[in-house]
Amino acid sequence: MMSLEKNLVISSSRKLNPKKIMVRIILYTFLIINSIIVLFPIVWIIGSSLNPGDSLYSSSMFPKNPTFVHYVELFTKTDYPIWYMNTLKIAFANMILSVILTSFTAYVLSRFKFKGKKITLLTILILQVFPSFLTLTAVYVLLMQLNLLNTHLGLVLFYSAAQIPGNTWVVKGYLDQIPRSLDEAAKVDGASNFTTFTKIILPLAKPIIVFLALTSFTGPWMDFIFQRLVLRSADKKTLAVGLLEMVTGQSNTKFTTFAAGAILVAIPIVIIFAFIQKYIIEGLSAGAVKS
């Protein structure tokens, strides 16, 4: 076994001997088993969404007479379209606000020397340690005071503020790598700080900005903690809260509808992800991996 696995990492010759065939069989077995483990829940939920019945008990993975009735029901019998639109709205607003706030903040902290810079950096560093949702109660009272309870605005303001400390740190790390000579050259040519940022820095920082945009866009799709706390009325509800309630309800009678709803959420996110996969991995590494 040991000598077979030896070839897992590297093989020195390309000849096909029995040992090599065995190695391949083992490798492919692992690949296939892992793929099954990864794909099983996905296939199961897709299959379930096509079942004619309602409940978890009666549904099967490969229904005999598949139907799209639950997808239709989502739009005719539930508030799903409202949840979807609300979530899209929050996600877009959060994406735009977060990108603006964080990229500018990171740019200034990366490029400028000014009074109070050190204290600003330290504050951001310390704040980023504190998980934002531990402050649940305070945020609730604060939004109540500002009359922003049960509004999407309150949620977006909070989200985009809460992400600044952590993301600024990541984006600043990326910007620090971009040679300063580039923006100095632009300044010599008479460009203002704002133009230097939008024309020189932003295009070079595209990977990290895309990463930032994606994470702030997808974040609100799945956070139900604050959404549950802040949004009270049915017309303000979002996907995360709506889907969670479908599953945690005692009866499980909405199981197949949940399946359909879950798939319609996952598909667009997975597609976006597929298109900008390389930016995501670059962004993740920028924030974390040691060079």
């Binding site: 590297i10 903040t105 009272v141 503020a161 600044i164 700080n193 995360a240 599953v247 945690t248």
Partner: protein
């Protein structure tokens, strides 16, 4: 001391006006004026923060009269933050008057705007951090020193009082609290360790598998394995919850191949194992994605010379692959540990902390500290204890994350400690 500086000490903005920077001067003067006018409001806010209200809820001519302790506390905090802002502006105003040189007078408005660029750009970000992040944190810390909780100290019907360290004493001394704390803390640490360990090595395994030279269609395999990272986490968690539930597909399959149905989520140990497996499914792809590039960057000749020496696979793994991967991912491990330590979402979506543990107060067998806090806050309104546990989490997690951040590029560039 310059004359302008002295003037700015006496009243904000005077020095700037003396220097003929009228717009700046007027703005500073306005800040001081507004502050002075609001002195009574500041005084009232500080009184509120100090006493947390004195008028108990009662009716006067059919109208409810009361002090709302929590609102008073929040207003007091806001006043403190505003006062700090004014003090910072005051110091800045003196420095600004001192640093004034004749040259600056000739700069146009546009240039002046460009010189102020860092401050203008930072203001919205810093203000929102100050009020939406910093303020709630301070508030949470303060609540730990009050008796803010249901049923007897819940505004507006009742007042909240400062109680000093009483809550900390109760948490450690009262059996029902300390049992919950001990049990939950133990499981939280175990969970964070196991969850990080399994998904780290799961990810490494996948990355090595996909990187192996013996296989074809690498891209296809990688795309399949990355899927759990791309699918919104909550969706996967809810789907898993249903799969492992009593009538779920896992039990169906067990029954079909002639085995007994298992109580996956209602038996404590099973529930814990299932949580770790689900976390592995969710977390390994993330590590795989990051490790793939590290693996491809390991110089091939390291392995070749090891081959010549006749090293076994395991020997190469433990002496070449693992040390190199480990070296570049130590910050990630710490981050992942901290993340799992506070992985509220998974616990809440899959088990909701259950099954119930009668020895615990407001927590179940699989509750982490963080989900215990959530239950105390949202379901039980035990804000005081929730805050105490929050502070504990902070004390445990902060050093780990501080360690992580001192090792990132952002920090090293800056030489914060000088």
């Amino acid at each position: 001391m310059k004359k302008s500086q002295f003037l700015s000490c006496i009243f904000m903005g005077l020095g700037q006006i003396y220097n003929k920077q009228y717009l700046k001067g007027i703005m500073f003067m306005l800040v001081e004026l507004i502050t002075l006018i609001n002195i009574p409001n500041f005084a009232k806010a500080f009184w509120g923060l100090y006493t947390l209200g004195e008028v108990k809820f009662h009716y006067v001519n059919g109208r409810a009269v009361f002090d709302h302790s929590i609102f008073l506390m929040l207003k007091g905090l806001i006043a403190v933050l505003l006062l700090i802002l004014v003090i910072i502006l005051y110091i800045f105003n003196i420095k600004d008057a001192k640093d004034y040189t004749k040259k600056n007078t000739k700069t146009s408005f546009k240039d002046a705007l460009d010189n102020m660029f860092p401050y203008i750009v930072l203001t919205p970000g810093l203000l929102s951090i100050m009020f939406l992040v910093l303020l709630p944190i301070i508030f949470t810390v303060l609540v730990a020193f009050t008796n803010y909780s249901a049923p007897y100290h819940l505004p507006p019907r009742n007042l909240v009082d400062w109680v000093g360290l009483q809550n900390f004493k109760d948490l450690f001394k009262m059996d029902i609290w300390s049992n919950t704390l001990k049990g939950t803390l133990k499981w939280t640490i175990m969970w964070a360790f196991l969850a990080t360990f399994t998904s780290y090595f799961g990810g490494l395994f996948l990355a090595m598998l996909v990187n192996s030279q013996e296989i074809k269609l690498k891209k296809l395999w990688r795309s399949i394995f990355i899927l759990p990272y791309a699918i919104p986490g909550l969706i996967s968690m809810l789907v898993m919850r249903l799969m492992f539930s009593g009538p779920g597909i896992i039990n169906d399959i067990l029954e079909k191949i002639g085995l007994q149905r298992v109580d996956w989520l209602t038996e404590p140990l099973n529930a814990k194992i299932v949580l770790i497996l689900i976390n592995l499914w969710l977390g390994a792809p993330y590590f795989m994605a990051l490790m793939t590039s590290i693996l491809t960057n390991i110089p091939k000749d390291l392995y070749e010379s090891a081959d010549i020496d006749g090293a076994s696979f395991l020997h190469k793994f433990f002496h070449i692959t693992l040390p190199l991967v480990f070296y570049s991912t130590t910050p990630l491990i710490i981050m992942s540990f901290a993340y799992n330590f506070n992985n509220f979402m998974l616990i809440y979506a899959v088990t909701d902390g259950g099954p119930v543990n009668p020895d615990y107060r407001y927590a179940g067998h699989t509750d982490l500290l963080i989900s215990w806090i959530y239950k105390m806050t949202v379901e039980q309104q035990q804000y005081h204890m929730a805050s105490v546990v929050t502070i504990l989490i902070f004390i445990i997690i902060a050093p780990a994350i501080a360690f992580f951040f001192t090792r990132t590029r952002s920090f090293k560039e800056e030489d914060l400690i000088q």
